[in-house]
């Protein structure tokens, strides 16, 4: 008697390959062979993230936008591009402030953020991130305030340099934040995720520059946007390829929809940025910002989906056990 046998009319089955809805697309190269998959009534193995949209994907997006904008702002200031510098600095401060609002909203109460500053732990990307934000936020604020009011230019310049020094870390650390979990689509992608995140941040910051700065000042923003989009798309493709079956949530479900939208917006934004002037350039800047946001939403929802389906937890682990056992018996 095979334990594969399914009694008709009975929905709850254990110890059988459950015919889940998500099927592998035809022609796609699976990384692991179709392992016989068993689960406990199809229930998830891990408890999925309790983080909510738009708070957390917004937090990821705004952190990237802010961090990369601080770099753009510092560069613009150094090269005498006043309007671009102003836009990038105020954009950075606005984005980081909103991201803090999103984080506090997800925590429930503002004083809960302070609990994060009780300790400093390198084993916790969230702890590292809280300290980073505490250092970066005021610097970005001072840089923006000085740029807007024109007062204390020396302090403003120092804050601009300081914000640019912390900015890349702010843009990149959120990749470790999501990867340092048992969520398969996030954890397994830890090699590419930081490049994806800084690329996404750079294309958003470049997009902001294209949107806000006049034509004569926007060349570096255009270059940064093109660089960021290429890095973002390259890292995502590489990650999907390497993850094989675990990457399925990146092209199916809600995550897949957002990432497809991101791809289209990104392509349109890149084309517009490279060729367009005037309103086309401004529109393409907005498209690039939207593409960056859509990428984060896509990554977020794909992670949630991969946590929900026990297949993504069990199959790779089972594969690992089998490979290890074969290695032992042959070696």
């Amino acid at each position: 008697m095979s334990d594969q046998e399914v009694r008709p009319g009975r929905e709850a089955l254990t110890g059988v390959a459950t015919g889940r809805k998500r099927r592998r697309k035809r022609g796609e190269q699976p990384m692991v062979p179709d392992a016989e998959f068993t689960s406990y009534y199809g229930k998830p193995i891990i408890n999925g993230p309790v983080w909510h949209s738009p708070d957390i994907p917004g937090y990821l997006f705004l952190g990237g936008l802010a961090g990369a904008s601080s770099l753009l702002g510092a560069g613009a200031q150094a090269t005498g591009r006043g309007t671009l510098a102003l836009a990038a600095k105020t954009g950075a401060f606005g984005a980081i402030s909103l991201s803090l609002v999103a984080l506090v909203h997800d925590l429930g109460r503002p004083e809960r953020f302070l609990n994060m500053l009780r300790v400093f732990k390198v084993t916790s990307p969230m702890s590292v991130g809280s300290w980073l934000l505490s250092a970066y936020g005021p610097l970005a604020g001072a840089a923006a305030a000085s740029a807007v009011t024109g007062k204390l230019p020396r302090v403003g310049a120092a804050a601009t340099v300081g914000a640019a020094a912390f900015g890349p870390a702010v843009a990149a650390y959120t990749a470790a934040l999501v990867s340092d979990t048992a969520v398969p689509a996030w954890h397994d992608g830890y090699r590419e995720m930081p490049y994806l995140f800084v690329g996404s941040g750079a294309s958003a910051a470049g997009g902001l520059g294209l949107l806000a700065a006049p034509e004569r000042e926007c060349a570096p923003a255009r270059n940064l946007a093109l660089f960021g989009s290429a890095l973002e798309i390259g890292a995502l493709k590489r990650m999907e390829h390497r993850l094989g079956m675990v990457a399925e949530p990146y092209h199916s479900g809600k995550g897949g929809k957002y990432l497809r939208a991101a791809e289209i917006l990104s392509a349109a934004g890149v084309a517009g940025a490279a060729l367009g002037r005037g309103w086309v350039r401004r529109l393409s800047g907005a498209a690039l910002i939207a593409a960056s946001a859509a990428t984060r939403w896509g990554i977020f929802h794909a992670g949630l989906d991969s946590a929900e389906d026990p297949k993504y937890t069990v199959v790779p682990q089972r594969q690992r056990v089998t490979t290890a056992a074969e290695g032992n018996s042959s070696g």
Partner: protein, 276 residues
């Protein structure tokens, strides 16, 4: 100190679930029937710190007997009659109190700590509800309580241990399926039990989470299972999520440098290319 849960003698009475709730004053988490099996708590969560899994399997078992006919020689019956093709597996799941605990590692507030008994406990007055420990747990144990926002899980009855008592679930277990004690003692007992079962023809009997060399440095709560771990809703080869963290930080560092390089190049290109 830790748990050894011998699922081969679990009778699915749920006394452990009830004792845990009563002792720890864990709120009710919805009194609903799932219709899925006798399991109505479904899995571990903020308000379910012990969970009894019920698995109905079409798999041969070396005979289950009601034990009602005391006049017969059950051993002779087992030898004579063909085995049935249906079996129940029951297993009481709990927080594994990992030696390398991802929840503890990623907690940004220091709310989770390692006790003097080697167990992992959440301090509810410090937890800020960030929820990071929840997806970090490779076993899906810790969870967020509705309307509270903070994370809760088994404390291995930290308060009872301090008084020299055993945890409520182990105390309540009528079949000694849940055993509590020093880990090395439990591991030895478990090894004897699994050998005894395998000698009796239960080839599928195996220990889960007992090895200090596994992906989480060994579990403070380990199990004797009668099938693959995933059948019980357990991960086959869990790894502490922070094991890859050094590599993650390296990639984050390289990515940050890449971003700086990209920004520098973006400005350099305007100077070199003569573009405004």
């Amino acid at each position: 100190m830790g748990f050894f849960t011998d699922t081969s003698v679990c009778i699915g009475c749920k006394a452990c679930e009830v004792a845990c709730k009563e002792w720890n004053a864990v709120p009710e988490d919805g009194i609903a029937l799932t219709g899925m099996s006798y399991d109505n708590t479904v899995g571990l969560g903020a308000d379910t710190w012990r969970h009894v899994a019920f698995i109905e399997q079409r798999k041969p078992i070396s005979r289950q007997d009601s034990g009602l006919h005391h006049d017969t020689d059950v051993l002779a019956m087992a030898a004579d009659e063909p085995s049935t093709d249906f079996r129940w597996l029951m297993s009481s799941d709990v927080c594994k109190h990992c030696t390398e605990a991802a929840c503890l590692d990623v907690c940004p507030t220091g709310s989770l700590f390692r006790t003097e008994f080697g167990t992992v406990v959440v301090q509810e007055d410090i937890c800020n509800g960030c929820g990071y420990c929840i997806p970090a747990c490779p076993y899906g144990v810790i969870d967020q309580r509705d309307g509270d926002g903070r994370a809760w899980k088994c404390t291995l009855c930290y308060d009872r241990l301090g008084q020299g008592q055993e945890p409520a679930c182990a105390k309540a277990c009528p079949t000694d399926s849940i055993q509590f004690g020093p880990l090395d003692e439990l591991r030895e007992r478990a090894q004897n039990r699994v050998e005894q079962l395998q000698d009796a023809g239960v080839a599928d009997a195996r220990l889960y989470g007992e090895s200090p060399d596994d992906g989480v440095g060994g579990d403070g709560a380990f199990f004797l299972l009668l099938d693959e771990p995933e059948v019980y809703g357990l991960p086959p080869d869990p790894k502490v999520t922070t094991r890859d963290l050094p590599a993650m930080w390296r990639h984050v560092g390289t990515a940050a440098v890449t971003l700086v390089g990209g920004a520098l190049a973006a400005f350099a290109a305007t100077a070199l290319g003569g573009r405004k």
